[in-house]
Symmetry: C2
Subunit: 455 residues, 2 copies
Amino acid sequence: MIVCKFGGTSVASAEQIRKVVDIVTSDKDRKIVVVSAPGKRFSEDTKVTDLLIRLANKALANENTEIELSDVVERFRSIAQDLGMDGTIADEIELDLRDRLAKDKEDTLLYMDKLKAAGEDNNAKMIASYFQFIGMEAQYVSPKEGGLLVSDRPERVRALPEGDVLLAKLRDLPGIIVFPGFFGYTNDGTIRTFNRGGSDITGSIIAAATEADLYENFTDVDSVFAANPTIIENPVAIDKMTYREMRELAYAGFSVFHDEALIPAFRKSIPVSIKNTNNPDAPGTLIVRERDYNEQQVIGIAADSGFTTIYVDKYLMNLEIGFGRRLLQIFEEEEISYEHTPSGIDNLSIIIRTRYLPEDKEQKIVERIHKELEPDAVIVEHDYSMIVLVGEGMQYTTGLAARAASAIARTGSNIDMINQGSSEVSLVFGVKKQDETKILKELYKEFFVESFVQL
Amino acid sequence: MIVCKFGGTSVASAEQIRKVVDIVTSDKDRKIVVVSAPGKRFSEDTKVTDLLIRLANKALANENTEIELSDVVERFRSIAQDLGMDGTIADEIELDLRDRLAKDKEDTLLYMDKLKAAGEDNNAKMIASYFQFIGMEAQYVSPKEGGLLVSDRPERVRALPEGDVLLAKLRDLPGIIVFPGFFGYTNDGTIRTFNRGGSDITGSIIAAATEADLYENFTDVDSVFAANPTIIENPVAIDKMTYREMRELAYAGFSVFHDEALIPAFRKSIPVSIKNTNNPDAPGTLIVRERDYNEQQVIGIAADSGFTTIYVDKYLMNLEIGFGRRLLQIFEEEEISYEHTPSGIDNLSIIIRTRYLPEDKEQKIVERIHKELEPDAVIVEHDYSMIVLVGEGMQYTTGLAARAASAIARTGSNIDMINQGSSEVSLVFGVKKQDETKILKELYKEFFVESFVQL
């Protein structure tokens, strides 16, 4: 049994939804279909989710919402019409939206969630109707009845494992199940949405709970590539990679698949396939627990800019038990999460994503470090990039670090930081932002261009 | 004005003490002489400090101490005799020791400190007497009158800055000042000793307080070498290095100069010279604040075995604010200090000196990590070595990491960990202990053997 999820561009229009139906019907194992809200049909288009956010903001400001409401309804109506269906579904969607708009606004975040979730929810209903319309056995299942239980506020939204028993029963329902992505219900029936891109999470949760043989994630690219295609021309496609490799690449800037969405599949060892709705015959990328790393030691190279380094130096730091912990505690108390903490004998660097470090926080943290830890020096540097080399072969192959460092040296760039832990699948180089592109190109040549590969 | 300190082997016999006198008198700037207790005269010999520990242990066990007492006294008596002096000083030393032995034993650590300090204290008195005996103006100054104030128990012993005003006046005393190393007095007059090798600390504190032009540290080697002479045949001598470089090398296994002893000199920018009592004309090694790193980017290579890695892996670790802090806190609460904490996205490795991690502690820490942090995996690995490449040029020179990693790759060894922070003067490679020697040799060739040096 296969759980397949279709992203926003895959369900943006009638034409796209017909492709979805073709894909689903072409393999009888495809049983559960998780859908996003209609996305962009062309690059200047607006996603339904963004229309809904606009609508919710108007409502929260107690302004007239008729225009914004109509924008959403008409978007669905035109899709239904293009699919050859009558206006019933659009009328139902309008009623549903008016119902949501009339709800209590006291908790603005929950109100917003309720409206945002309407995109996926109504799209699932519409697509289920379309399956029925063309004569297939299919049904919409709500996350409430389906069992997608999520945690209460103020906790960060996450799926509760007690929902799994109910979700597992989706397998036994007759016909195609169309399930909306992106949101779940708390125990008391309140809607909460996942992060953006959260339909990937829904699909993964259901694939894990139903113990699917495969979780297919349909999007608009043929596969995951070994490097960013906007920097490297025609990078090689990745046929197969491990969860850990995908996670490292996603984290370091690959946006194909949502980070957090891998967890449920990973925990139950469900293989994940990234496929293209517009080219379903392309092999795609398969994400699995293990692969033969001898075939390809390095699977991809990611680069991510926008890091800040806070370097703290104190003579005999290592003799002060608790120094590192107290330093990290300052970041925790200021609610700043950090990426790496490479250390020397007398120094520790904290590497942070600059966008998570507002200027006033940076100043406050530096002041606190000075006051509470009495260091010899605190140096803040901006505009760092992290270049991440990812591959399961990393920890077993002699000379990979040498090849990577030599490739970087060939560009004339300096390496400010290197981080490689034991048992790791990645090697991280901290470099100046201005050197990022040329380093990425040279590393790609070193590890992926045949004529260059040497050892 | 020069403060010079003579280590244990430099004052182990009459012959050695005559060399000390020759050195001191050959430069009129040499004013303050800090001395250790008599050390080993030959490799099977016993240091006076060890004789004193034996004596203290007997006394603490309330056993007869006459034999052990006599061992210490006779050691001093024979030196004085060989110097041509009469028995007065040895008799005084015996009285002093009997007086110390009779003190209150309630606090065994302080009792031990009192007896251990007798080695340096009496040696300083004897050497001052010898200066006078040969007709020079000289005096013994006690750390109590001199102003070497230290912190009270239970705090770790450290010098208190309020003593500096008094210590600064040592400059103005007439003649040569002979000052015992290794111990100071608390505000209420109690003796406390520094760590072993603590005479280096005394010399450094006095050099800083008196704002000496130079702090000479006389020992039994011509200089600091670029690598361990027991592994690398005739390694090159280091003429000049920075405090930071010395600190990194000392920490990573170079035993020439006591780590902690650099601090006072470093804070006041007093140059430190490492010289050989047995070959005072050799240039030695000069430790300064800054050097021209273009002349030599890498100054030395150290290797230190006996590390344990505790690797902790948890999916989406980075989303849990406080994960790193809570992990480090477990180590802090168990009073285990760690060396490095290299991190991946979903994992953090804690690198510890194995000798600081008793087996039961290791087990307890692993259990606590499992229980308190619910990780996906905790893997403990022993027998790691850290290879440390040290040099001020490290952070400014392109390609050094590549050269080092390539040299390691040539040995066929795998690199388990790499740690290089920004603004650092060292590059740390974690490798298997069995590969340590061959890596050290290959790195030495790469960076120090002319015909091999390439870029």
